[in-house]
């Protein structure tokens, strides 16, 4: 058995090109994702720990990790943790996504 590859986030010391220093305004959906993560972590809920979020993000796989944006990674990872914990069911998540798409709120 060959040694498993290191995960795609572990890039310390590797060439990464120029650093983009432009100010970036976040889209509304990105702010919502941030809010969801903060609310799930609240001590009175404890539905998500930052360590779980990291594990979930780091387990997305190299292609998804590379192709997804910052908050896209977050929301995929959050959905996975909530499914694992049984906070939501896959049916509820699927129905929720279908409802949003029906309203025309397709993410940019």
């Amino acid at each position: 058995m060959s040694e498993p590859a290191f995960k795609p986030h572990d890039i310390g010391g590797l060439p990464a090109g120029d650093i983009v220093t432009d100010e970036k305004d976040h889209a509304l959906w990105e702010k919502r994702v941030d809010a969801i993560v903060m609310l799930l972590q609240k001590p009175e809920r404890k539905l998500l720990r930052v360590d779980e979020l990291r594990r979930s993000i780091e387990s997305l796989g190299p292609k998804a990790y590379r192709d997804l944006g910052y908050y896209e990674r977050w929301i995929f990872a959050v959905a996975n943790v909530l499914l694992e914990r049984g906070v939501i069911t896959s049916e509820e998540l699927g129905q929720g996504i279908a409802d949003v798409m029906k309203r025309g709120e397709v993410l940019p």
């Binding site: 010391g13 360590d51 594990r55």
Partner: protein
Amino acid sequence: MTANSPRDRFTTGDKVCVLTMNPPGHIRTPRYIMGLAGEIVHDLGEFPNPEELAYGRSGIPKKRLYRARFRQKDIWPGYAGAAEDTLEIELYEHWLTSAADPAASL
């Protein structure tokens, strides 16, 4: 040393080596520091194990966290800075072995 045996408690100035491991899940040791030898700078106390917290568990037993110092030229191939430049990084106890331990060099 097995996972459950008592570990050496390091103190400032102790020489240590960082283990090379790549378990699934979430780890807080970056690969650039794995396999290198350094020196303990601070004992930062015990914290719930983040590798267990990452699976929604308690993180108990806690793991001791150390700050360790390494030479930059040992980390980066062809490092162009001063020979005495160092990097300090925080590492949990189960990632460290005593550099005095012959098993550490295997």
